[in-house]
Amino acid sequence: MNDGTEKIFSYCIHCAALCGVVAHVKDGYLVKVEGDPEASNNGGTLCPKGLSAKQEIYHPERLKHPMRRTRPKGNADPGWVRISWDEALDTIAEKMKEIKERYGPEAFFFQKGSTDGSSGAEWYRFFNRLGSLYGSPNFGGTGHICCYSRSCPGLPLHLGNKGLHPAIDYEKTNLILLVGYNILHTKPPLARKILDAQRRGAKLIVVDPLLSPTAAKADIWLALRPGTDLALFLALHHVIIQERLYDADFLTSWTNAPFLVREDNGQFLDGGGAPYRVWDSKRGEPYPADPWFPSDVQPALTGSYTVNGIRCKPAWQLFAEMVEPCSPEWAQEVTWVAAEEIRSVARLYATTKPASTDWYNGLHRSSNGYYTAVALTLLSVVTGNWDVPGGLSFESDVSFRDVKGSEFLPRDWVEKSLVTAAGFKVRAHNKEYVGPMNLVADAILTERPYPIRGMLSLASGLATSNPNSKRMMEALSQLEFLAVGDMWEIPAMAMADIVLPCATAWESEFVNFNPPYLMYRQPIVKPQHESWPDLKIVFELAKRLGYAKQFWDGSPQKAFDQMLEPFKLTVAELAALPKGVRFEPPQPRHKIYAAIDQKTGKPKGFATPTGRLEIYSEKLKSLGYDPLPYWREPEPGPVSTPELFREFPLILSSGFKPMYWLHGQMRAVPWLRECQEEPLIWINRRTASKLDIHEGEQLLVETPKRDGTVQGFIRLKALLTESVPPEVVYIPYGWWQSCESLGLKGHGTLDGSANVNNLYDDSFTDPLSGTIGMASYPCRVRKE
């Protein structure tokens, strides 16, 4: 164009998809953004969130300058007064020092929400670094309400996949099994790839209690009772074992299925100079495994053996015994999915090669989420779909130099963490997200295991995005000092001492992959008003706390250079080219586990405790958990807590998200808000008619606490639908914000609001990982 419009190449980081964009900028103003046709990720397409950049940047209700409270907390009007960034940061630094001195570094909490927030998850590593230098193990994250056993950190004890995301080759896969994952909307660049796979003949199977947009496209939709996915997967295993559809060679060669497990203590049998043993059926005697054994050994997968007077069974035998009672008929009772359907899906899944699987929030937000993910991923393992092109594979871990600064943390940081004190031993063992917001709230309110007195929160909804909003708000109100940064005035700011205006991602800089480029992302326009990128806030604060040296003398550019070291590139070199330097992240390499390690002369294996994929986890056993993913009901739930369902008979599920929202964000953006103006509760037509509820009527939704007293209530309008079962209502989460442009008022956070997180007691948790049970929550609904 020759009208003075400049094209700036960039990428959107509103979600983890990272779409390449072209920003059209004229006279310093953003005119529009479009998908970059050359970007291999999104190929010119762009989702509603990315397309709305302009309305986000120039939104009149953004926070404009730092502010300080002048009235005591609890006052309806905090009496905000405008202050300078210097005053704001000096105050925060001073309070941080004071709290550290008086109570120790663990008394200060560094909170950060989901991807995006303001300027995305990219800068989080530096926020982490700040926390590490300060010495506090308590930095937040979203593992407890998001994707703990998928990628944050995943299932390292079973799969050795720590921190890596599943990366499916949709051009090669012939079956896609999706669980609790509205992928067509929440990973927009994958939509066309999955639909292309389907067009090619690949089968799409979606497990979801609700008819999500993704379920609507499925070849087979398994509509199950919320929170019972584990029962479904165990029944699939049952059929696969009964009909011998598993890959015995793979199990023998690469998993711990043949390892002998002692009947007396559940540990692996060692001996013969090796930590494990298998039963060699050719020789009729045990054979040592370190964890490998020669190829002429024929290990038994089934049976029962006695070695030196110790009775043992192969791990696979125990797994088979576990799924033995889990017939499709049993699962039909538990899950509501017809036994015949389960049987035919098991056959289809086990006989279609390669078959892939992926899963997300829908699976984790449950008290049985960890074992559910184990049983699901083991489906890939037992059918030989693990780490094959088009099967379940993970992204390659070639990446930027780690700058999180964990080395600065005190040695005992995990022991000192809140998850250790709370007894979530798998999470403590994995050393990931050890200070989740729900435990921080407990620590603030009870001063156990130690008090938390101060908090700096960036890009987090705090009370609206965490379950038990009331408790979150109460905890925030008890803090000695709270500073909150965001683009908008979020409800939790009512409890803040200092408020910081953050820039959007579009106004900030970073380096990242934007395939086929490695790119320096320059701000496409200058930060509006007095807003600052989170990255700058972190760097400037670091200087004031005396960490200038560890923060590259306050220069993000120098920090980027260090991140770029593995690529032998500098930020200046990237910035010199409009799109950066051509770089395709390496394709996932398959079967690295089978490569021979030069040092040992043995296969590389897996980063699991045994070095093999784990069907049976001795580590879990020694931490005090079931070594196998036995069936357990979700808590709360109609079966596990029937007493709560007597008065609150419906199942509340908060379910999938549409493409135009990201968690609790963006409701203020009018283009997006016109897609859906207000929050609705989805209720089945038959249930509605029994309760005499009509379309659009305002409903009051109430839920109980663990003890049966009322936890909270919210109000929403009814949407009558057949997309939810008669026993279930669906309430989307993330609704609090106003949209003045369309004349839509804010909803608030607590009782009477539209915030579904106000309805959960957060004490129902997964005992391994601490994820919170929200999939199958009791509720009652009535007209007002």
């Binding site: 397409t45 120039y58 639909l195 008819l211 509509a223 997309s723």
Partner: protein, 207 residues
Amino acid sequence: MSRYGLAIDLGRCTGCFACAIACKSENSTLPGTFWIRIEEKEQGAYPHVAKTFTPMLCAQCGEMPCAEACPLGAISIAEGGVVLIDDELCSCGDVKPCVAACPFGVLAVNKGKDAYFHEYLTPHERDAYESHRHGAVEKCHFCHPRITAGLQPACVQACPSKAMVFGDLHERESELAQLVSSTEAKPLREDLKVDPSVFYVKTRTAA
């Protein structure tokens, strides 16, 4: 002579609204005015229920029932078969006969606010919003300035599902012409015989 056309694969549309926002971004339409909207339909009873999403936009009918109804001759066909409304000529009062005449309900009347944000308009937004007169009838024109510059309409480019194929119906080799002739492509309300340029295809039925 070319005739621009569009095929929308309902088997691929997920109702994500990217097309609607891309349209807003490209054409700076006013609050409440949509040149493309998504109709959602649910059929059956849980769990035997199906859901479809149908993007609705001007079909650029060769027969133009809207133009026939317009007393002022404001609607005409331009090059490439694109139906355009002349903003100067379009000046009916409250009753807009064209709106009622369109069988697809895709004519929009500007009746809300004259901008999304008032005191925060960028220079581009100020100009763009001013070009949309209050009370005027508007509709999709296949992003006329874009297609005449050789680009795809904004919605077609943005669609994450690649549910839309745009092209020249007269160009036999084009992906569009192939799609329209080789499959179950149908315009909406075929019975009306208004010769639309927008076709709906259903490549795959949901289970």
